[in-house]
């Protein structure tokens, strides 16, 4: 009898796992089937066309996403990385505990709230939507991820390396920069890739910062298209052609993200556990 | 009295590491048997083979025959779960369940075997087990206190009570007093004396004086092999193997 319960429990655990993985299979499956059929060269080369006209694409959205990610990195990567170094080097202090906690809290702030934040700070004074505002919002989202992963990677550097450098007379600050960071370089970069993968798919904060654009952005001071926003706009529209393009765009986005995720996993195999 | 456990040509591995090499031994019933030897000689692994705990480690393997009352515990029809309720174990470090009270800790094993026991019956069993473990007087007024609120020595006796509550036939003790202070150690040793009336006890210890104090029979292991096995008094005063004599006289280990 007890053995029966034991077996039933084991079976239940297996079933749960299957149930959890089922949506993954379904989503990827639909994306592949609906997205592949709508995939075309035009998607990558053409601008969006009005409904009814064939051959519309998402070239501006793809470039826009890359632009926004670039801008986000300008803010998020340096600030995040150096903050992460602080956390690793001076980690025992009260301030460090506060910053660490703050980073985790910031990580959990809904991205739409960060959108409002960027709107108030940048869109309002600039009197208009801009790539800067969108990039800033994404940078804020990246900040805690980069900080925490940098911290973890720096902490992984063995103390003996640090001590060897210090014993040779190298000052502590130089040790950190030339020895520790260089050793942790690979891990820090993968942490950055994680952050980039996270923001590449963000839609909500861009809705009223970067806004969107049916054409090429004329400058960074104006609205700019992005892949997620374009997918959203097309998805909620009533037009079948746009729906198909949405699937294709989503496939492109997901392939990029999955590839990044896999790359990160491979590079850090066994070294640290990615924290969501 | 017959043999409670009869081990024949026992071999055990951790992956490719051959840690128990062809050991044969007979544990008499109603006695205390000590297993001594230097660190790493396989003592703990050996007794873990006797309640099929060795195999829970990934990559671990056992070959050979272990007869409990004449039946091979590694036989095709043997159930590891049932074996473990007949052959109890006390570990080197006390491991009471931290989320349970003293009372619940003692009956933790009982609850697995039979769900429907009345509260009063459970209370009786708890008392009996704690008395046998020489802990009753110290905790009888605070049975609802968390198990981990006791001192180290008390926690170990709690674990003994927990093991006894399922009414095993054999009690395996893996260096039960190693992590304890001398006073608690003395209490545990006294306990072994009392318990061996009713149970068959196998104690692993690296403390020779302890083995001499508590056991009737002693086995000396070295590098995974059984070197000598015999009545404690004889093994310590007049060992037949030179290796045994070397160990006992402190020439190494």
């Amino acid at each position: 009898m007890r053995r029966a319960v034991d077996l039933a429990a084991q079976a239940a655990a297996v079933l749960c796992t299957v149930a959890v993985l089922l949506p993954l299979v379904l989503i990827f499956g639909y994306l592949l089937s609906k997205g592949l059929s709508s995939l075309s060269v035009e998607l990558f080369t053409n601008l969006p066309k009005p409904v009814g006209e064939p051959g519309g694409g998402m070239a501006n959205a793809i470039v826009g996403t890359l632009t926004l990610i670039g801008l986000a990195c300008l803010f998020g990567l340096p600030v995040g990385m150096i903050a992460g170094v602080y956390l690793a080097e001076y980690g025992g202090t009260r301030l460090a505990w506060l910053v660490r906690f703050g980073a985790d809290v910031l990580n959990g702030v809904p991205s739409i709230v960060i959108g409002i934040y960027a709107y108030t700070l940048i869109v309002l004074p600039m009197h208009g939507f801009s790539a800067y505002a969108g990039g800033f919002a994404l940078g804020v989202i990246m900040l805690p991820i980069v900080a925490r992963t940098t911290e973890e990677m720096v902490k992984l550097v063995p103390n003996s390396l640090r001590e060897a450098s210090l014993a040779l007379g190298v000052p502590a600050w130089r040790t950190t920069i030339w020895v520790v960071l260089r050793t942790a370089r690979g891990g820090i970069i993968t942490g950055m890739m994680l952050a980039i993968a996270r923001v590449a798919g963000e839609t909500a904060p861009l809705l009223f910062t970067a806004f969107g654009n049916q054409f090429w952005a004329q400058s960074l001071r104006g609205p700019i298209a992005s892949l997620p926003v374009q997918i959203y706009t097309y998805a909620i529209s009533p037009f079948d052609d746009w729906h198909r393009q949405a699937w294709a765009g989503a496939l492109v986005l997901l392939v990029l993200l999955a590839a990044t995720s896999l790359l990160v996993r491979l590079l850090t195999r066994g070294r640290f556990q990615t924290r969501l | 009295m017959g043999d409670k456990i009869e081990i024949t040509d026992l071999n055990a591995w951790f992956a490719d590491n051959h840690v128990i090499k062809g050991i044969s031994l007979r544990i008499p019933e109603g006695s205390a048997t000590a297993i001594i030897g230097p660190s790493g000689c396989g003592k703990s692994t050996f007794i873990r083979c006797m309640n099929r705990m060795h195999e829970i480690v990934p990559g671990a393997r056992v070959e050979g025959q272990v007869l409990l009352d004449g039946e091979d515990i590694y036989g095709p029809r043997a159930d590891a779960v049932e074996i473990r309720s007949r052959v109890g174990m006390v570990f080197q470090r006390a491991n009471p369940f931290p989320t349970m009270s003293i009372f619940d800790n003692v009956i933790a094993g009982l609850r697995l075997k039979s769900r429907r026991l009345s509260r009063s019956r459970l209370a009786d069993l708890v008392q009996r087990s704690l008395v046998q473990a020489a802990l009753w007087d110290e905790v009888k007024d605070s049975l609802d206190a968390p198990g981990v609120s006791l001192s180290g020595g008390q926690q170990q006796r709690l674990c003994i009570a927990r093991a006894l509550a399922v009414e095993p036939e054999v009690l395996l003790m893996d260096e039960p007093a190693t992590a304890l202070d001398p006073l608690s150690t003395a209490k545990i040793e006294e306990l072994i004396h009392e318990l061996k009336e009713r149970y068959t006890i196998v104690v692993v210890t690296h403390n020779m004086q302890q083995a001499a104090r508590v056991s009737d029979m002693t086995a000396y292991f070295y590098l995974g092999r059984l070197i000598e096995f015999g009545p404690t008094l004889q093994l310590f005063t007049n060992p037949s193997q030179p290796e045994t004599e070397d160990y006992i006289t402190g020439r190494f280990g």
Partner: protein, 333 residues
């Protein structure tokens, strides 16, 4: 080379005071101070960003706060045309969709986490946990896309009629089902929070010491009984933390929910009915807000959203930290 370094270290180590090994040279002391000041500055920037988010939102929402006061939170009417703003429909939708999502996700994730920590052989554990984490890399908008074209029709054609016929005596399963609504939103949310709860729960279970498991096994427990007696109680606090992390995520989720919830600012008993959440109303109406009070009301909703998620997440982190390692993200061997 390493040997030489070690020897040199040993030679000089006893000369160096303290663990940082700071030399008494003046220039390096200056360098250290500057370094520390710089890094501290950037660390403070992070805190400043966090703090300013709250301040900025509070400032922007001030007008609405003054206008509606506490009634904002319990007001049922959201009517931009008549300048009447009450946030209850959004709060209701947010909380209910999140709770329903948890009800669906929690049993599945605990089961999966137990499978990973107790049953799965080594070669299976890594790929499966990778696949589970892959769920987290799917962007919200893609979930929404799939939700609109796959989940919603499925709900409309199969799930809602089935629930209505079997459990139709319950008011929550009554009424017409159009597919879009609370139910679909909760289902999509459940899928989205699965990876977060699973990964934390998995770590919590792995953190249970071997000694505890052995204690249970040695008493003659089956695998499941060992889990029940040693693993689950030990990991209780951590599991609650994991669930709260999932809750925090579900509350803040925007795009996928917006795309399948129907976006109607109304409170109805039925789970089939279209509803709305705090995040989705902001997403939908922020660019439509034509006058200041409208924007301020939306920002105030954002403020409420911020406060709720921060609180839930902070509590969750504290719980998880207390069980599965002091600093979240601590490396496990």
């Amino acid at each position: 080379m390493a040997q030489a370094l070690r020897e040199k270290t040993f030679e000089l180590a006893w000369q160096l005071p303290g663990s940082k090994g700071r030399r008494s040279g003046g220039s390096s002391r200056l360098g250290d101070t500057v370094f520390r000041a710089c890094t501290t500055l950037f660390a403070l920037t992070l805190l400043a960003v966090l703090g300013s988010i709250a301040l900025v939102l509070a400032y922007e929402a001030a007008g609405a706060v003054r206008e509606f006061g506490f009634g904002f939170l319990v007001g049922r009417e959201w009517d931009p045309v008549f300048r009447r703003f009450g946030a209850l429909p959004f709060i209701y939708g947010t909380l209910l969709s999140a709770v329903l999502a948890l009800c669906q996700a929690v049993p599945l994730t605990i089961g999966t986490a137990l499978f990973l920590s107790e049953l799965a052989p080594e070669w299976l554990r890594v790929p499966i946990s990778f696949l589970v984490e892959l769920l987290a890399t799917i962007p919200s908008v893609v979930y929404g896309l799939w939700g609109i074209f796959v989940l919603v029709p499925w709900c409309r054609s199969y799930v809602e009629p089935a629930l209505g016929s079997v459990f139709g005596f319950l008011p929550v399963f009554q009424g017409p089902g159009y597919g879009v609504g609370l139910l679909a939103a909760s289902m999509i949310l459940a899928v989205m929070i699965v990876p977060y709860i699973t990964s934390v729960a998995h770590e919590v279970f792995r953190a249970v010491p071997l000694a505890q498991r052995e204690a249970a096994l040695a008493l003659g427990a089956t695998r499941w009984e060992m889990v029940r007696v040693a693993v689950l109680p030990y990991g209780r606090m951590g599991i609650i933390g994991a669930i709260m992390l999932g809750l925090g995520r579900a509350i803040g989720e925007t795009m996928a929910v917006t795309m399948v919830i129907g976006n109607r600012a109304d409170i109805s008993v039925s789970w089939f009915a279209p509803a709305t959440t705090m995040a989705s109303v902001i997403a939908n109406e922020f660019n439509e807000a034509t006058y200041d009070l409208y924007t301020q009301a939306l920002v105030e909703i954002g403020l409420v959203l911020l406060v709720v998620t921060v609180t839930v997440n902070a509590l969750a982190r504290l719980l998880v930290w207390s069980v599965a390692g002091v600093e979240s993200g601590e490396q496990r061997g």
